[in-house]
Every structure is written in structure tokens, then in C-alpha cells.
Amino acid sequence: MRHIMVGLAAFIALSATAAFGGEISKDTAERIQKANARAEQMSAGKVAEYAKEYLEAAKLSIFMAQAAGTGGNEKLALQRAEMAQLQLTVAEAKAGQKEASEEVALSRAELKRLEAQLERYMQPEEK
């Protein structure tokens, strides 16, 4: 499925950039590079586990931005780089939220265990 999506994205990006032939600005290239570096960094962390969907989407956007950049389509490259950054931010936020939810669940389980323990203590001892 992912390969199909990447292939399709590549096709769209290349077809969209076919009409252009120049180079993109240094600023846009840097943005794409930054997004790529950020995505790589996040791939090695918890985000890859908790917000894989958004991270994959961001990588696809980066790929499309790179393809647009190669074709000299400044506008599309910039848009995709901007979208990739936002997708990475969303991925981070989602991962943080999921991690917090997990911690809440763990705390809830811990509380339940302690309550049960206290309940056992409160009951009269069997002889």
C-alpha cells in the first residue's frame, strides 16, 4: 500500500514539475532539508511508534517536495515542505498525547491495584 502511495505521489510530483525546469530557491531547499532531518530524527524516537501515520504522511510530503524541487516547481516544493513540517508537528503532538494517555492508563491501573490492596488490608484477617 505504501509503495503504491509513494509511486503515485512520485508520479503526481513529477508530472506537476514536468512543466518547470529551473531551480528552487535556497530558502525552500533548506526548508525541505530541515523537514527531512526532523523526520529522520523523529523516526528514531517514540513518534514512530505512537504517530506512525502522520510521520509517514510527512515523509511522503517531503518526498513530493524534493521531487517538486528537482523539477524547479518552487511553489509546490514550498507548499509540500510547509505541509511536511505541520504534519511532523501534528505527529509530535499526537505522540505526546498518546504517551500521556498511556501514563494515565498506567496510573489508573496502579491506583486500582493499590485500592484492592487496601481493601484486602481492611478485611478481617482469616484465622
Binding site: L86, V90, A93, A100, S101, E103, L111, L114, L118, Y121
Partner: protein
């Protein structure tokens, strides 16, 4: 006739426009969906300060999309917008969606964080309560162990007392036997003295008779009796 022809032409010309007016284009649908999503989110977030920036960004992209729609419409408003505007609208509405997702995530994260603070407090309180019981339980176990040790010591003490009583009884018995033996010894000594005296009185010259002399180092006639008594002691 000319009027009919004119009316027919007008009808034919206006028919597609009427159909078009009733249908929404893809770009319009995207923009309306984005707008509705922003409104729903703004209502749901209830002016939460956390997502103010995200809402503003979403509004900004919606505005850009609407501008792209206005600028990209084809002649006479027929059909959808031109491809470039369509792509811009798609990008803008996608960004709106992402900003709303980000806002929602921020709200959920804040809720989870608040909940975590509350839960952590409850867990800490509960841990303190359980610790009191744990400590008491440990103390009780310690006391139980001490009690077992104490019971063993008491048992040992009872055994020692019983042994002591038994030995005291035995010692009393032996003391009585010793006293009896002493009395027997005294009696025998007296008997011996009496016999020696009687013998001396009966034969004063007996000392000259070697046959009647008791040889030095030879046992006394009462020696076996004394030895017997000493053996009883």
C-alpha cells in the same frame, strides 16, 4: 414565432446554468467542509486558549483557499476552478485539516496531562495509606517472630526448671544417704573402739603374745565394714 424561438434558445442556454447552480463543485465542497470543520472545532474547543493559534492559522488557510477559489473560477462560473487554483485549494483545505488535528491533539494532551496530575496525586495518597498497613504488617510479622522465639525460650526454661527440680530431689536423696552412711560409720567406729577397749581389758599381756598382735599394715577387723559404708556414700 420569433418569440418562441427566442424563449427556446434562452431555455437551452439557461438549463446547464441551472443544473450547475444546483451542484457544488469539488473546490466548493472542500472549502465548505473546511469551514464547517473550523466552526465545529471552534464551538467544541470553546475558546480554549491552547488552540487559538491553530484556529487562526486554519482561518487564514481557509481564507487563502476562498481567495484561490474566487480567482480561479472559469469563465461565467461554469465548471470547477482551474487546475492551479484547485491544487491551491486542496493544499489550503489540507492545511486547515492539519491545524484542526493539531488543535484537537493539544486539547487532548492537556486533558491527559491534567488527568495525570490528578491520578498521580491519588496514587501518592493511596500509596501512603497502603504504606501504613504495610508497616503495621511488617511490625506484626516481627512481633510474631519474637513470640515464637519467646515461646521456645519459655519451653526451654520450663525444661530447665524441671531438670533442676529433678536434680534437687536427687541431691536430697543422696544427702540423706550420706547422712545415714556417716551415722553408720560413726557407729562402726564406736563399735571398733569398744571392741579394742574390751580386748585390751581382757588380755593386758597380750601385747607380749606375738600371735595375738595385729601386724602393722594388716587390715583392721572392722576395715571391710568401713569400706562398705564408704562405698555407699
Amino acid at each position: 414565432m420569433r418569440i418562441f424561438t427566442l424563449l427556446a434558445c434562452l431555455t437551452l442556454l439557461s438549463a446547464p446554468l441551472a443544473v450547475q447552480a444546483g451542484e457544488k463543485t469539488k473546490a466548493q465542497t472542500q472549502l465548505e467542509a473546511a469551514k464547517a470543520a473550523i466552526e465545529a472545532f471552534a464551538k467544541k474547543s470553546d475558546e480554549c486558549k491552547l488552540v487559538t493559534g491553530d484556529l487562526e492559522a486554519a482561518h487564514s488557510f481557509l481564507k487563502k483557499g476562498e481567495e484561490a477559489y474566487s480567482g480561479g473560477r472559469t469563465m461565467f462560473g461554469l465548471g470547477d476552478v482551474n487546475p492551479e487554483a484547485g491544487q491551491e485549494i486542496k493544499f489550503d483545505t489540507d492545511m486547515v485539516e492539519l491545524y484542526l488535528a493539531l488543535g484537537q491533539s493539544r486539547i487532548d494532551n492537556a486533558k491527559s496531562t491534567d488527568e495525570l496530575v490528578v491520578m498521580s496525586g491519588l496514587v501518592a495518597k493511596m500509596k501512603a495509606k497502603v504504606k501504613v498497613f504495610d508497616d503495621r504488617k511488617a511490625e506484626l510479622e516481627k512481633l510474631r517472630a519474637s513470640l515464637v522465639k519467646f515461646d521456645a525460650t519459655v519451653k526451654e526454661l520450663d525444661e530447665a526448671k524441671a531438670e533442676n527440680a529433678r536434680l534437687a530431689k536427687k541431691a536430697g536423696k543422696l544427702e540423706l544417704e550420706r547422712k545415714a552412711a556417716d551415722a553408720e560409720l560413726d557407729r562402726l567406729k564406736a563399735e571398733l573402739a569398744r571392741r579394742d577397749l574390751a580386748a585390751a581389758q581382757a588380755t593386758p599381756a597380750s601385747l607380749a603374745t606375738p600371735a595375738l598382735l595385729v601386724p602393722t599394715g594388716a587390715p583392721s577387723p572392722v576395715a571391710p565394714l568401713v569400706q562398705e559404708t564408704a562405698g555407699k556414700k
